[in-house]
């Protein structure tokens, strides 16, 4: 702790303050967009894994294995550097001309398809944790298959899945930091970038850390409220 003078004003002094705010906004929109894609693809993949067709099941399993066993950073680089080269020249030109923020959308896509493999597993294990008796009981009361899902299984599954989805969203939120490697100006990248002008990276990275913690805390709090609001007496969920 020798000759270093802290200069916290770097956090609000212009233009850096504006940059930090923009970084936070980018982190939030990026992880939300990635999450939406992840849930969409994840539910489809979970459906494939539960399919009666052997080939569809294998496809679902392959998706999960491939996306979980390759580091997210490698996947991002693949989407950013390699994927456009596979396209035809026309498609590539169109892509570069018409997608102004290619790195950002690449980040959303990469984050989405990566997180989808994790969401699929959580979704599947959530559905599997519903006791078979629930299905039998629902059928024996005379409900039709779609009613069984609509009125019994899905409301049940929803409550089981919330805690694990909260965790997965927070992971997705943290993973969004990796998009800095393909040039997305989210908060981690901004913190590092400001260092190159001011040599005060320690302050900005510290502030960025607290941004992550604060936002994660807010999300956890909201989800905890959702959980307790929708709680059914007698149903075992995660203890608090």
């Amino acid at each position: 702790m020798l000759n270093y003078t802290f200069d916290w004003s770097v956090l609000w002094r212009q233009p850096y303050g504006e940059m930090m705010l923009h970084g936070i906004r980018t982190t939030i929109t990026l992880s939300l967009a990635g999450w939406c894609l992840a849930v969409l693809v994840g539910v489809i993949v979970a459906g494939l894994r539960g399919s009666r067709n052997r080939w569809l099941r294998a496809l679902g399993l392959a998706y999960v294995l491939v996306f979980r066993n390759i580091p997210f950073l490698v996947q991002l680089f693949f989407w950013y550097f390699a994927a456009p080269l596979i396209l035809s020249t026309d498609a590539r030109t169109w892509l570069y001309d018409n997608v102004p923020d290619y790195g950002y959308w690449c980040g959303v896509f990469g984050l989405g398809v990566y997180t989808a493999s994790r969401v699929a597993e959580q979704f599947r294990s959530g559905l599997r944790s519903i006791p078979a008796d629930q299905y039998r009981a629902a059928y024996s009361t005379g409900l039709r298959p779609n009613q069984v899902y609509r009125y019994v299984i899905l409301p049940y599954a929803f409550r089981i899945i919330i805690p694990s989805f909260t965790t997965e969203f927070l992971t997705c939120f943290k993973n969004s930091a990796l998009t800095m490697t393909i040039g997305v100006m989210e908060i981690t990248h901004t913190a590092y970038y400001i260092d190159s002008f001011t040599w005060h990276g320690l302050e900005t990275t510290t502030a960025a850390s607290f941004c992550y913690l604060l936002i994660a805390q807010i999300i956890a709090l909201i989800m905890w409220r959702v959980e307790s609001r929708t709680h059914i007496a007698g149903m075992i969920t995660r203890g608090h």
Binding site: M1, L65, I70, F72, V74, A82, S209
Partner: protein, 220 residues
């Protein structure tokens, strides 16, 4: 597709892979040691130990590893007064970060041992340390092994983040070769394949361990 680019640079790329393994091994070793201490701290009845270790675990689990790497990279020279280079910064940040994950695995492993085991152990007249070493830990470790192996695979994947501060591990070298040869498709597919094979072996091992029968004679 031109696979020559991979064959030509094979030695260089696999040199990076050796570094990747080195980082992973150090991160797992140090992280596990520090994680065991933290995990025990999380179970401590002493508030002065419990609260700081809990705060530590929550802090590091709440921020991205990539940010921790930068943070340590900026912070370390201030504490030591001199830059120790990227490798040390990476190993330190991985140790600090992954320990918080190991701590949670260890904590839940110890908690997974039924309370009846503790009572039974005490009833047979075992002393606390005998109870810990002969009754609780052998069972707890068995429960933890699959999660520990699983997390080792995660750490192996995480080592690719050392890329950001310029350490020439596997991914960085793939990136450098790509910058020179401009063969992104082949190189990144190859990188993906290498990670995929190594991590699949790890995942497979963790599944195997999970299926192995538990402690002889116990129906835990």
């Amino acid at each position: 597709m031109d696979l020559n680019v991979i064959i030509d640079n094979m030695a260089y790329l696999f040199g990076g892979l050796a570094l990747t393994f080195q980082i992973a091994a150090l991160a797992i070793g140090f992280g596990l040691c520090w994680g065991i201490l933290l995990g025990m701290g999380r179970l401590s009845k002493n508030r002065l130990i419990y609260y700081p270790s809990s705060a530590y675990v929550h802090f590091f689990r709440g921020i991205p590893l990539i940010l921790v790497i930068f943070w340590i990279y900026f912070l370390l020279p201030l504490i030591i007064g001199d830059s120790l280079g990227e490798f040390v910064a990476v190993v330190v940040s991985f140790t600090l970060y992954e320990a918080s994950y190991f701590a949670e695995i260890i904590r839940s492993g110890i908690q997974s041992v039924p309370a009846g085991q503790v009572n039974a152990g005490l009833a047979t007249g075992l002393r606390p340390h005998q109870l810990a070493f002969h009754v609780i830990l052998p069972q707890a470790l068995r429960n933890m092994v699959p999660s520990l192996v699983n997390h080792a695979v995660v750490i192996f994947q995480d080592t690719s983040l050392a890329y950001v501060i310029g350490l020439r591990e596997f991914l960085r070298r793939v990136n450098l070769v790509d910058a020179r040869e401009a063969r992104s498709v082949e190189l990144y597919l190859f990188a993906g394949l290498v990670y995929f094979i190594i991590c699949s072996l790890g995942t497979l091992a963790s599944h195997k361990l999970e299926r192995r029968p538990r402690t002889c004679g116990s129906n835990l």
